[in-house]
Symmetry: C2
Subunit: 207 residues, 2 copies
């Protein structure tokens, strides 16, 4: 068997939590169950994370890093047109949420160490990708403060993707989709929604 010391328990616990949440949702999380999956005593996690909150906070932090990657991938997919970049960024946002619904819920839930530095940092990083996109569209140099129009565009975009994602996860979009699978509904309706919001609040690219 393995040694008394686990080797990399910290990462193992994060992984086990991630898997548990992916399988059964956030509510099913239990520190003891996670410890069980990692083959370790119920008190072991405390040494690495202090708290159950601490472990969840670490998982959420990793989640924000994943979200940031998804946004940047979408960004790249959009090519050079600022509007297209924002469009695909938004799609990436929702796709990430739908691919990891439990983790996504966790990331924006209470029950995290709200003051945790790494968490706030990774959360801001994700937000900054979106802000960058808006900066590009409004031709605002980095460092310069955003003007009002840019602020409302940023807020509108963020709100719309966040809201769409949450509604989809909560199952509130299923009735709208009718009998066809949710993914198909999302694939057609989300771009349409984003199109409207973007053309309504973001200036077009210059030729």
């Amino acid at each position: 068997m393995t040694s008394y010391h686990h080797g990399d328990l910290r990462q193992a616990l994060i992984g086990a939590t991630d898997a548990l949440i992916a399988e059964q949702g956030v509510e099913a999380f239990s520190l003891r169950e996670v410890a069980r999956r990692a083959g370790v005593s119920p008190a072991a996690p405390a040494h690495h994370f202090g708290d159950a909150r601490g472990l969840l906070t670490a998982v959420a932090t990793a989640g924000f890093e994943g979200l940031t990657e998804a946004l940047e991938a979408g960004n790249a997919k959009g090519g050079k047109d600022p509007r297209k970049r924002l469009l695909h960024q938004g799609i990436g946002y929702v796709e990430y949420a739908l691919a990891h619904p439990g983790k996504f819920r966790l990331m924006f839930s209470e029950g995290l160490e709200g003051a945790d530095e790494k968490l706030m940092c990774s959360g801001n990083a994700a937000f900054l990708v979106l802000e960058e996109g808006v900066r590009l569209a409004f031709a605002i140099a980095p460092g310069q403060p955003l003007e009002d129009e840019a602020w409302t565009a940023l807020l509108a975009l963020w709100s719309v993707v966040h809201g769409y994602a949450n509604l989809a996860i909560a199952g509130r979009l299923q009735p709208c989709a009718g009998e066809k699978p949710l993914a198909a509904f999302v694939a057609t309706s989300l771009p349409a929604v984003l199109e409207k919001v973007i053309t309504g609040s973001v200036p077009p690219a210059k030729p």
Copy 2:
């Protein structure tokens, strides 16, 4: 003291849960604590709600009814202009969420009896108020199916208010607000955001 029978325990439990959630958030909910507050044994709630989920579902149902009222109040505030009606409806949505953050979280959380008839009914009722607003703006008679443009407008509006509300509740808008109180930030930024989305996806009123 009171008699052995409580009189209206069902309502008392809902009230106690509501208060507890308002004071300490959804996570702090505990069936035993609620029973304690109602001056009743831990097993008493089971008779009325079966389950802890059952009690929470009842509270969420009441929450949707409150949300519906808030939407209708906003609707009335908007007067005759369909766009203004939608604007104030959106403001009402967010205001309700900010006034009852814990309950709002609960309403869209897992851990409810998703199949509960009353819950779905009250949830749909809230949605229908929004749909009515869009119907009015697009001049679609009740009963007639919504055309695509109307659908995306409906989705965009719902998403934007839902997302904005969730972000605000999660404290993610505080950094944007800077040092001034969140309510002030909301009061200026939310109408601006809604304005953009509405003019971008909802046709203007005919003269």
